[in-house]
Symmetry: none
Subunit: 218 residues, 2 copies
DNA sequence: CCAGTTTTCACCCAGTTGGGGTATAGATGC
DNA sequence: GCATCTATACCCCAACTGGGTGAAAACTGG
């Protein structure tokens, strides 16, 4: 460490100058924190990370060139990588999902106060994942069912047998295999399949499988 | 509503008497909150929920008889169900995962202070998902681990064109439709499909769709 | 007991699918 | 330049699929 042992080393990736300067001032001017790098984009990303050797990277999710999500993926793929705290102006389910999949450990809004920001970074260092309860709820929603189309009404019109057959289909079985598996005649399985297609408003096995997985019918 | 309009109605499920009484005291004795039900177990669960009509259910994750996870599942499966805030003594990855899958919207530790507890319940009501940064990190870990199977190696062997065609298939298109959509000949699309099947190790469109969705290839 | 639903099975038929070839044009790479 | 890859396109053929119709057995709830 080149800084005092208690200092948390923070690197900032942010394309907006006003925000960038504000962040730099906050971390540079607060005891216990050190701003070891301020960057406007992700070119030479590996070099910038090595040079600033941060404990925590504050990463803007939207940046020109390589965006924050791609950068997060690249940074976290290395061994001993720093923790990455994403920041965004507005919650966007898809982006949140992508950022967390990419390996970000926390998520804060740009509307957070300086105190909240410092606290969030501290929490990241001590092994936490700070995020606003609102963002946490969104993450949970994605987590609970990545595609919550929730066609409950349709699910329930499917009989037990039909769900059973749909499940087998999702697991890659063709009509003939399903028949063998359930000790049914091939024609019976086909009859079931036709009814399933009508109920799900699809016209092919591929469509049925897609609907089953997207709507969590199985 | 039988209570003042600003009051948040809370129902408590907790088998330990000391904890139970403490919680009741906290919610009964704080302005803006009303404790509308205190229960030691989940027998007659539906009745207890209907009777107490809570906005938020504070649910112990471990209880004799039906545990808090099963109870959460039952409660959230009904329409217009209350939000459920889980509480536990110690973080347990599996239990956290199960509880959130069951539909809990938040998660707090029993070591939380009364103020934190009240704040957590308030956050639930206003659409948030309160959880300690430590718990959030665990959720994220499970989330990152469970959700993105990301068979990157296999995905990347699919060419851009192949991914494009696979996406169209997932969206319910047959070979003929894909051909029209991409201004390709029917036979060309079929050639692509055959290559996709070989790469994904499947033998049908249904299998390809299942793999694409399960492994998030599209 | 009767009506309705589910489950089971069968046949017909046009169209599609999956597997196997073969081949040409363009891009990439050494 | 030559190898390789990708995208494009076509052919054959057996098998499967999806739609329709019909019908019997079993169960469900009045």
């Amino acid at each position: 460490m080149t800084t005092r042992n208690a200092d948390i080393r923070v690197a900032i990736f942010e394309d907006n100058k006003l925000v960038r300067d504000a962040y730099e001032a906050i971390f540079s001017g607060t005891n216990g924190f050190a701003c070891t790098g301020v960057f406007t984009d992700c070119t030479d990303l590996d070099f910038k990370i090595r040079k600033s050797a941060p404990d925590v990277v504050l990463m803007d999710i939207e940046m020109p060139g390589m965006d924050g999500i791609a950068a997060t993926q690249q940074i976290t793929s290395a061994a001993g990588a720093p923790s990455i705290l994403m920041q965004t102006v507005f919650e966007d389910d898809e982006k949140i999902f992508a950022a967390l999949c990419a390996g970000a450990v926390g998520y804060i809004l740009k509307t957070s106060s300086p105190v909240q920001l410092l606290q969030a970074v501290s929490e990241v260092v001590s092994g936490g994942s700070p995020m606003s309860p609102q963002v946490a709820r969104r993450v949970l929603k994605l987590f609970q069912h990545h595609a919550p189309h929730a066609t409950v009404s349709d699910t329930e019109t499917l009989s037990e047998r039909e769900k059973e057959i749909l499940t087998l289909m999702v697991n890659g079985n063709a009509a003939r295999q399903i028949a063998e598996h359930l000790f049914l005649s091939y024609e019976t399985v086909r009859t079931h399949l036709k009814k399933i297609y009508r109920k799900l408003h699809v016209v092919s096995s591929a469509g049925a499988v897609a609907k089953a997985l997207k709507d969590r019918l199985v």
